[in-house]
């Protein structure tokens, strides 16, 4: 197990290095002067030169890359050109919205999807199964911003239980913050849960055809016991894969939902960074997201090994 984790950790490090190189190359090396790009077409020679200096674009390529990477390792992501504050501060503030939102949505989606998928698998080919499959089809087909608007109309306007948008911040207590995140989390979770429920169903149905389920039935387990004791754990690998992918998506891909609910999240930050040509912000946030994705992949890999002893293989 330790060896398995160690090899995964090494691959995590290598992936991070490769990703940082690619991002660095895309933003800084590829033709076109980043400083000129940021300032637009009408900028004078002197302002471009000044910005180049400010951005640290004057050294050699390896030196600049090293400077960027070591800076990030020390928590220094550079200074935003438009906001005039350290990027790390910008990111930290946004992360306190995006991370809880992603976790909230993921928890909702998983808690919703797993039982539904199990139920559909247990009642496969019957009315319940067809009903669930139809609903999840709808959940995938309908865009999440439409759900979001529907939720606002229902639960913020018709029955004003939750706020329609905005974020009060965590310093005013956890309850108002969670309340503000509830509708966005639900809107994000519904399509994700639909996908996950379908994956859960098909993974479980596949394991139910396996010989060891027949052995379990021959031991005297009921169908339900056979599903719970033997089917679930074997069906977890594809489910974990999708959960990992969904978390990465939720962290950065919530931009439309952030827009609908006026939430100051990472998605909006990167969107503003791009429109305002603030390359320092874009570069750092992209790197952070890449790090998050790779980290989640690592955690999912570890989870695989916990689920499946064949991956540990220590003896």
């Amino acid at each position: 197990m330790v060896r398995y984790a160690a090899t995964r950790l090494i691959s995590l490090g290598l992936s991070l290095m490769a990703a940082s190189l690619v991002i660095f190359a895309v933003v800084e090396v590829i033709p076109g002067d980043p400083a000129a790009f940021m300032l637009g077409m009408n900028a004078s020679e002197e302002t471009v030169a000044a910005l180049r200096d400010e951005l640290g674009l004057t050294g050699s390529l390896p030196a600049r890359y090293l400077g960027w990477v070591t800076g990030m390792l020390g928590g220094d992501f550079g200074t935003s050109y438009t906001y005039r504050v350290p990027v790390s501060e910008l990111i930290a503030a946004r992360l306190w919205v995006s991370l809880p939102l992603a976790l909230y949505a993921l928890a909702l989606s998983t808690l919703l999807a797993l039982p539904i998928g199990m139920l559909a698998a247990a009642r496969r080919g019957r009315a319940t199964d067809y009903g669930i499959m139809g609903l999840t089809q709808l959940g995938i087909a309908v865009p999440n911003f439409w759900f979001a608007m529907l939720l606002v109309v229902l639960f913020a306007i018709t029955w004003p239980i939750f706020p329609a948008g905005g974020f009060p911040g965590w310093e005013n207590g956890a309850w108002p913050a969670l309340k503000a995140l509830t509708l966005p989390a639900v809107a994000l979770a519904l399509p994700q849960a639909s996908i996950l429920a379908r994956v859960m169903r098909s993974a479980l149905i596949e394991t139910l055809g396996q010989d060891y389920i027949r052995t379990a039935r021959a031991k005297g387990l009921t169908e339900g016991q056979a599903i719970r004791n033997h089917g679930m754990r074997n069906a977890m690998i594809p489910v974990l894969t999708i959960v990992g992918l969904q978390f990465s998506f939720l962290l950065a891909g919530a931009i439309i939902i952030e827009k609908v609910f006026f939430l100051p999240g990472l998605g909006l930050l990167i969107f503003q960074g791009i429109t305002q040509r603030d390359l320092v912000v874009v570069e750092s946030v992209v790197m952070l997201l890449v790090f998050a994705v790779i980290l989640v992949t690592f955690l999912v890999d570890l989870a695989y090994a916990l689920v499946d002893p064949r991956l540990r293989h220590t003896r």
Partner: protein, 520 residues
């Protein structure tokens, strides 16, 4: 005592079992034999009431006088695993790969509320020890993937007998195992039935196995029992023509008059093949597994050469090297004097074709037979008379020229194996490698395919390399035989001489382990 009374079964309206009646007293084994599709397994699943959806069962199953057929599903769950234990054919997949063997044996006790968790583990340990998995070598926290096929089947037996059931159903329990492992598992089952006084329903397609195992035999055909009686008497008398046909087919020996030339066609010289293993630690030395270790032999033109050995002995690796699919680390393989290697020219490849075991998996299901048969032409270029060649190949293997327009699923297993032979034949090869080519076939179909192979050999002067684990088949169709173990050839010689007077210790063990049909 278990009694089946007039069991009939309909699966979505199609009759699968007709009036099956059987009785098995305690301590006795009833062998249920028949070819695939005869209803053997369905009989077992009817007793267990583990039938597919849409099954309609009639008749009565009585266990110690208690009718099981009227029980509710909940009460039936208490019977399964409690009073009836069952083991299956595929020990490799019959156990949950993510649960320890201890947990899986203990589960039988736990779901029936027969023991508390700590007691259940103690009983599991004792039951595993009883089936030959001593706790010192096989602790309860082992996972199935850490065990061999025979050891896994022992775990399956342990969990089936954990509650000392009154009936043990064994559905082809040794079909997927090597002969020596099979002999051990059969011995274990015999002991258990005697000691625990269980009734045993033993299902198999192998008459030799059932002759060794069963006190009584029931022969099934098309969902009905055609003959039933004490083993000795039944095998002596064989009143029903189907029983006789089955018996004759299992011992079938095709008429062969081989014309063997002296010149070698295939030469294998000191072949050596290593597989790299995982590194021990990040910078550890890489270890190698020697799959084929200095093998040398010759196959002469017109000869049938057998290659036998148990799983893991290196047969498959050697076969891949002979087919030029994998390189050797040392040594040489020559076909008619030309070097065989992954880079060998197409025409050399054409001269050597192969037929594999699985008649279902070895065809692309979306291609028509004509396209499947024409595949070897990529080695030679398409001849102008391709359609005629396809028709000819089909007729040569006893099929119709019109079959070229059909898809593989329209054929039975035996017919598919004929198509596979036709595909090998169409390239006009000199050597055909038969890699367990008849192992998946029913005995009657197997007899026909063996006849076909003998006929083709005589007509086209073919040479065969016949790779199989079934010793009796190898004995009936080969001129010489090689016995392989641990990557080496431990014995080589004329087939009859090797079988009647084996020189190597291992060959003797192998022959002793193989079940033999009593001569009628």
């Amino acid at each position: 005592m278990i009694a089946l009374e007039n069991i009939s079964l309909l699966l979505s309206g199609i009759p699968v079992l007709r009036d099956v009646s059987l009785r098995i007293p305690p301590g006795q084994t009833l062998g249920l034999v028949g070819e695939s599709g005869s209803g053997k397994s369905m009989t077992a699943l009817s007793v267990m009431r583990l039938l597919p959806d849409g099954a309609k069962l009639s008749g009565r199953v009585l266990l110690e006088g208690r009718p099981l057929t009227d029980l509710t599903e909940r009460k039936m769950c208490a019977v399964r695993g409690g009073q009836i234990g069952m083991i299956f054919q595929e020990p490799m997949t019959a156990l949950n790969p993510v649960q320890t063997i201890g947990d899986q044996v203990a589960e039988t006790l736990l779901v029936h509320g027969a023991a508390r968790r700590s007691e259940a583990r103690e009983i599991a340990k004792e039951r595993l020890a009883r089936v030959g998995l001593a706790p010192e070598r096989f602790p309860l926290d082992r996972y199935p993937h850490e065990l061999s096929g025979g050891q896994r089947q022992r775990v399956c037996i342990a969990l089936a007998i954990a509650l000392r059931p009154k009936l043990l159903i064994a559905d082809e329990p040794t079909t997927a195992l090597d002969v020596t492992t099979q002999a051990q598992i059969l011995e274990l089952l015999r002991e258990l039935v005697r000691e625990e006084g269980m009734s045993c329903l033993f299902i198999t397609h192998d008459l030799a196995v059932v002759a060794e195992m069963a006190d009584e035999i029931a022969v099934m055909k098309a969902g009905a029992v055609v003959e039933q009686g004490p083993t000795g008497a039944l095998l002596r008398e064989m009143r029903h023509p189907y029983t006789r046909a089955l018996f004759d087919a299992s011992r079938h020996c095709p008429d062969r008059a081989p014309i063997v030339q002296d010149a070698p066609l295939l030469e294998v010289e000191n072949a050596l093949r290593d597989y790299p293993l995982k590194r021990q630690g990040l910078f550890g030395r890489r270890e190698y597994f020697r799959a084929v270790d200095g093998v040398s032999f010759e196959l002469r033109r017109g000869e049938s050469l057998g290659l036998v050995g148990e799983s893991g002995c290196g047969k498959s690796t050697l076969t891949r090297a002979i087919l030029g699919l994998e390189p050797l680390q040392r040594g040489a393989i020559r076909l008619d004097g030309e070097a065989v290697s992954p880079a060998m020219p197409a025409d050399l490849r054409r001269r050597m074709q192969v037929v594999f075991q699985d008649p279902y998996g070895s065809f692309n299901p979306r291609h028509k037979v004509s396209k499947l048969l024409a595949e070897p032409f990529h080695l030679t270029g398409r001849p102008a008379d391709m359609e005629a060649r396809v028709a000819e190949a089909l007729e040569n293997v006893g099929l119709q020229a019109t079959d070229a327009d059909k898809f593989p699923h329209e054929f039975s297993g035996g017919q598919r194996q004929r198509i596979a032979i036709a595909r090998a034949l169409i390239a006009r090869p000199e050597l055909i490698v038969l890699d367990e080519a008849v192992s998946a076939l029913d005995v009657s179909v197997r007899a026909q395919v063996l006849d076909l192979l003998a006929d083709l050999q005589a007509r086209f002067g073919l040479s065969y390399l016949f790779i199989a684990h079934d010793l009796s088949v190898v004995r009936s169709v080969t001129d010489r035989v090689l016995v392989m173990r641990g990557g080496q050839i431990v014995e080589a010689g004329e087939t009859e001489a090797v079988f009647t007077a084996p020189a190597a210790v291992y060959t003797r063990e192998l022959l002793a382990a193989a079940p033999v049909l009593p001569t009628a």
